[in-house]
Structures are given as C-alpha cells and as structure tokens.
C-alpha cells in the first residue's frame, strides 16, 4: 500500500500533467499525419526526455504512444487514409459516415471508443498484468498460427460482394509480406536482386498506397471524390455530434472490443491492427438486421477504435512483467525505461515499484486527458473537411510522399507506396476489395512462420493444432465465425 501512496505522490505534480498532455498532443499529430507513426514520435522525442525526471519522461513517451493510436483515426475518417496501422479498420465505416455528412459524429465515436479501449487497457495493465501475461505466454507457435488463421477469416467479412476476389486480394497481401529475407531459412524472396528489398516491404507504405494513392488517382480521373466531406461545410454541426444515448448503446460493443484488444495487445508480435480487425469482425458478426457495416455504421467505428486502443497499454504488460517487447513501439519504450534507470522484467516491481505504478496509474489518467484534448481539438480537425477538394488532393499527395520516405529514410518506401497505389487503382476497377491486401500483409507472415515452427516442434505432425486447447479453440472459432458471418450477411441482404 505504501508503494501505491508513494506512486501517487510521484504522479500528481504539475510537471507530470504538463508533459503527459504534451505527449498526447504530439502523439495525436504524429498519428494523424500518414506515414508518421507512434514509434517515430517516441524515438524523436526520447532525447528530449533525458533532462526530465523518470515519471514525467515516461508518461510523456507513453502519452505519445496513446495519442498516436487515436490520431490515426482522424485521417482515416476524414480523408480515408489511415494515419497508423491500427486505424486501417476504422476507415471501413468512419469514412462512409464522414461522407454521409457526419464527420464530427464519426470522430466523436472514435474518440469515445479510443478512450474506453484505452481505459480498459490501462486498468488491465494496472490490475491484471500477472494473469494476462500468463495467458499471453502460453501462446506458442501453434497458437500464433491458429490466431493468424482466425484473423484471416476476417477476409470473409470484408470482401464485399465476392469472397473469391477477397481471397485473391489477400494472396496479393501475403505475397507482398513475403518479400525480403525469410525469417526461418534466411533465403531472400522476391527481392529482384535489390539489396534494399532484403528488409522487406513496410506495411504502412502499402497502406498509404492502397488507401491514399489509389484514391488520389481516382480523384484525378474524376471517378471518385476525395474528401467529399468538404462539401459539408453547411452541415448543422450541433446535430452532427454523438449523443449520450448513442454512446451508451455502444458500451457492449466497446467492452467486447476493448477486452479483445487488451488480450491481443498483451500477446507479443501481434499489434493494434490485428486487434482492430478482430474487434470489427466480432461486431459485424453480432450485427442486428438493419445494421449496415461498411456504409457508415457507428458500431463499425466503435469496435476497431476500442480494439486498437485496447491494445496500447496492454502491450506494456509483457514488457513490464517479463521484459519482452511486443512490438516496435514497446521495444523503443523498453529503451526509454532502461535509459531512465528502470530495468524491465520480473524484478521491476520489486526494485522500482513506486515509479512503475506511477506510470501505470498515469496511463489511466492519460486516457482521460486524451479524451479532453480530443474533445476540444475536434472542431480544428474537422476544418480539414473545409479544404477545397483539389487542394486537399494535392496536399494529401505531398504528405503521403514525405511520410512514406520517413518510414525508413529510404525512397524505396515511396516507390512501394506509388506502385501499391497504381495496382490498387486497377484492382478497384475489377472490384477486388483492398482491405484483404492489408490483412494478408499483417497476418500472412505470422501464419507462415508459425506453421513452420509448429511442424518443427511436432516433428511434422499436424495433430499439434488439435492437441493444444487454445489452438483448437481458435480453429473451432474460425469455422463458427465464418459460418455466422455468412448467415448474418444473408440475413442482412434479405432485410
């Protein structure tokens, strides 16, 4: 109990509140600009925190991380370009809702859902770290494989009219993800003799191409109107807000999605994009007649946003309890913890309990501050929709090219983005859905490497996927999910 009191004393200072707010603000900006990521934000501002105390420094960096996850949804909703990987499922319903004349409502929903998910995640980090890390650590190669297959089943729900076309798009994504050195054998794949390709293709570059560049080309040839919300300057802003009743009705969806996000986030090597898609899929599976996902459905924003923010604080669970960074941002944060004198791992709570609890409780408060900042900055964000379409298209193009280069300080990412954009433009003409490309890129490598590792573990026996309970449960869930999605789609079509 003394540790908690000491941590509260460490936490409640004006300095901490200033820096956590600053971090959240920076994070939202980094998240909202396509190409810039939470990881870049944390990396760039890490040196600035050296002169700060441990708690304000870590809270500021965590604030950047949390803020960026919400920030990604702003560009996804307003200009159909996800600012971060985690926001790629938000645009499925966020952008259609903005186009229907409700950009503020969509942003409100994203903010409420992000805060909700972030709070659940931060409370999970605070109260259930040991239990969750135990579940997360029971994931071996077969479980990861089954989880990836479960995730790939989302293709069935985001393929639109034709699952066959969705599968082809998914295979394109998996091929793109296989470019580079194979992690198991060390053999180069589809590198075309280019040494720079050995590191593989960065997903965010493909995301920018698939969503932003393809859309810009369509805009240029006048087949699609980018940022059609710009014609909505006359919309009644007062009626374009999320009502209390609407927010309350989303609580079951947000709770489920936040829990999914928290669990997925705690599993190293997964990330917010997977959490967002699984949450979206679960919400779609439970859709009632009359709910049209993909056409601006409120639940279609609430679910992925709660899911991806649910994966933020919880991805610190394996880092703080076991010293295992789950993704690139937590690896950078691990460096930050170390530089500020905290050695992450099982003994962290014994040696620096008060400081760690201050950061953990600070994470809860950061979510509330993120909500307040988002709430007051919302009218500024919506100003994007007032920019004339032609200018917005040109600005978006410039930002995407600059952002793509900054992903890895290399022009390769710019080329990848442009090529992905051109290919998607042609694929759109044939009604190939773009979302499975992203899903294939995220989940393909996880499925492949863990299949190979599982077979190595089991001496070639495929029964390993049935013998392990978590793995078997995921396989059953995959079949149930695909069946129920098919039934829901049929029911909705009849409705």
């Amino acid at each position: 109990m003394d540790v908690i009191f000491e941590s509260l004393r460490n936490l409640f200072t004006i300095e901490n509140f200033f820096f956590v707010n600053l971090g959240i603000f920076i994070g939202i900006i980094f998240g909202a600009i396509p190409g810039l990521s939470a990881n870049l934000g944390v990396t760039v501002f890490l040196p600035f925190t050296f002169s700060l105390g441990t708690v304000p420094a870590l809270l500021m960096l965590c604030g950047i991380f949390y803020g960026a996850n919400f920030g990604g949804s702003i560009s996804a909703i307003l200009i159909n370009t996800p600012g971060t990987n985690g926001a790629c499922a938000t645009l499925l319903d966020g952008y259609p809702m903005a186009r229907k004349g409700h950009p503020l409502k969509a942003l409100d929903m994203a903010l409420v859902a992000s805060t909700f998910g972030g709070l659940v995640s931060a409370f999970s980090l605070l109260f259930f770290s040991p239990q969750i890390s135990k579940v997360a650590m029971s994931f071996g190669a077969p479980e990861y494989f089954a989880l990836a297959i479960f995730g790939l089943s989302v293709i069935a729900s985001v393929s639109g009219k034709s699952i066959l076309k969705g599968l082809v798009s998914g295979s394109v994504g998996m091929i793109l993800a296989s470019v580079g050195i194979d992690s198991i054998s060390g053999i180069g794949r589809f590198t075309f003799g280019n040494v720079k390709m050995y590191n593989g293709i960065k997903m965010i570059a493909v995301l920018l191409g698939v969503y932003a560049i393809a859309q810009i080309i369509s805009r240029v040839d006048r087949t699609e109107k980018v940022g059609e919300a710009s014609s909505l300057s006359g919309t009644d802003r007062k009626n374009d807000r999320l009502t209390r009743q609407e927010a309350i009705s989303m609580i079951p969806t947000m709770t489920r999605s936040s829990l999914i996000g928290s669990l997925i986030g705690a599993i190293p090597g997964t990330g917010s994009a997977i959490a967002a898609y699984l949450s979206y899929n679960e919400a779609k599976r439970r859709a009632k007649p009359g709910e049209h996902f993909g056409e601006g459905e409120l639940k279609g924003i609430a679910a992925p946003e709660s899911g991806n923010n649910g994966a933020t604080a919880s991805c610190l669970i394996p880092l703080l309890t076991l010293g295992i960074p789950g993704d690139a941002v937590s690896a950078t944060l691990m460096g930050a913890f170390t530089m500020h004198g905290l050695i992450v791992g099982p003994k962290l709570f014994e040696t620096s309990g008060a400081l760690v609890y201050a950061v953990m409780i600070g994470s809860v408060i950061a979510q509330i501050l993120m909500y307040l900042q988002g709430r007051y900055m919302m009218p500024v964000f919506v100003k994007i929709t007032h920019i004339p379409q032609d200018l917005l298209t040109a600005i978006l193009m410039v930002i995407c090219c600059t952002g793509a280069f900054s992903i890895a300080n290399s022009p390769l990412e710019v080329y990848v983005m442009l090529i992905a954009g051109a290919i998607t433009y042609f694929m759109n003409k044939l009604d190939f859905p773009p979302v499975p490309i992203v899903l294939g890129m995220v989940l393909g490598p996880i499925a492949e490497s863990n299949l190979r590792n599982s077979l190595a573990l089991s001496n070639g026996s495929w029964l390993i996927f049935i013998k392990r309970p978590i793995c078997f449960a995921f396989i059953i869930l995959t079949f149930v999910l695909v069946y129920m999605l098919k039934r829901t789609t049929k029911k909705n079509n009849i409705g």
């Binding site: 082809v168 240029v220 087949t223 080329y415 442009l418 009604d431 393909g444």
Partner: protein
C-alpha cells in the same frame, strides 16, 4: 468512348495471369533450400498462394461464363486516360524523387493541381510553401534525410 467489360470474368483472368506469372518467377526469386521443415520450404507458401489464385480465378470465370453471375461495367476512356497520365507522372516522380525531394515534390503537387484543371495560383503557392515547410521540419527536427 466507352468500353464494356464483365467484372468477374476479367477478375478471373487477371487472377489466373497473376498466378501463372508468380509460378514462373518463384524458382528464380526464391532459392532452393537444402533443408526443409517436414516438406515446407520458403517456396511452399508462395506456391500455395499460386494454387489459391488459380482456384479463385477458375471459379470466377466459371461463375461468369457458366452461371452467368456477373456484372457488366463500363470504362470511360477519356477519364481513364487522365488516370493513366497521372500514373505516368507518378512514375516520373519516382525517378525524380531520388535526386531532389524539394523540386520533384513541388512539381508533383503542381502537376496534381494542373491535371485537375485547377487554375488558382493561391493553391499552387500553398503547395510550394507546404513542401518547403515539410522539407525543413522533417530534415531539421525529425532527422529524416530527405534527398
């Protein structure tokens, strides 16, 4: 001028062509392994995807030709010409980017406005200012070494 095409039929053909191209480039792009994990090598997943694409391609063609389940779509050539021209501009930009970010990106922004037949000088100025600001903020504050 308009061109009519059947969506499923064309998608099926594209899928088959993609699978065939992939099938033939796999041996040259993925080296042979001396060891495999119970029959699975670096080539297994790409070959499995070739199989998936062939299956989907054939199924889409059958759906269109046998079950007549298809949608006829139209391409307006004048619009497509603009799209293709812009893709050409993007290719040229790709080459120019390595030499000078500032010049190539300003030109790309201007070309984007010009291709949309926009004549407002203020928009062009906004793009120039934006690129210059981005160049300096990325190189000076974010340590991004733009060319």
């Amino acid at each position: 001028m308009k061109i009519k095409y059947r969506s499923n039929l064309c998608a099926g053909c594209v899928s088959l062509i993609f699978a065939i191209v992939l099938f033939f480039i796999i041996p040259s792009q993925i080296g042979a392994e001396y060891q495999s994990i119970h029959g699975i090598t670096s080539r297994s997943m790409p070959y499995a995807l070739v199989g998936l694409d062939i299956f989907c391609g054939v199924a889409l063609i059958i759906k269109s030709l046998v079950f007549k389940n298809d949608e006829v779509k139209e391409l307006e050539l004048t619009k497509e010409k603009t799209g293709l021209l812009y893709i050409g501009i993007l290719i040229i930009y790709g080459f120019g980017f390595s030499y000078s970010y500032l010049v190539s990106t300003i030109l790309l922004g201007a070309a984007t406005l010009a291709i949309m037949k926009n004549k407002k000088i203020s928009y062009y100025l906004v793009i120039v200012v934006l690129v210059v600001i981005m160049y300096f903020s990325f190189t000076k504050f974010l340590n991004v070494n733009l060319p």
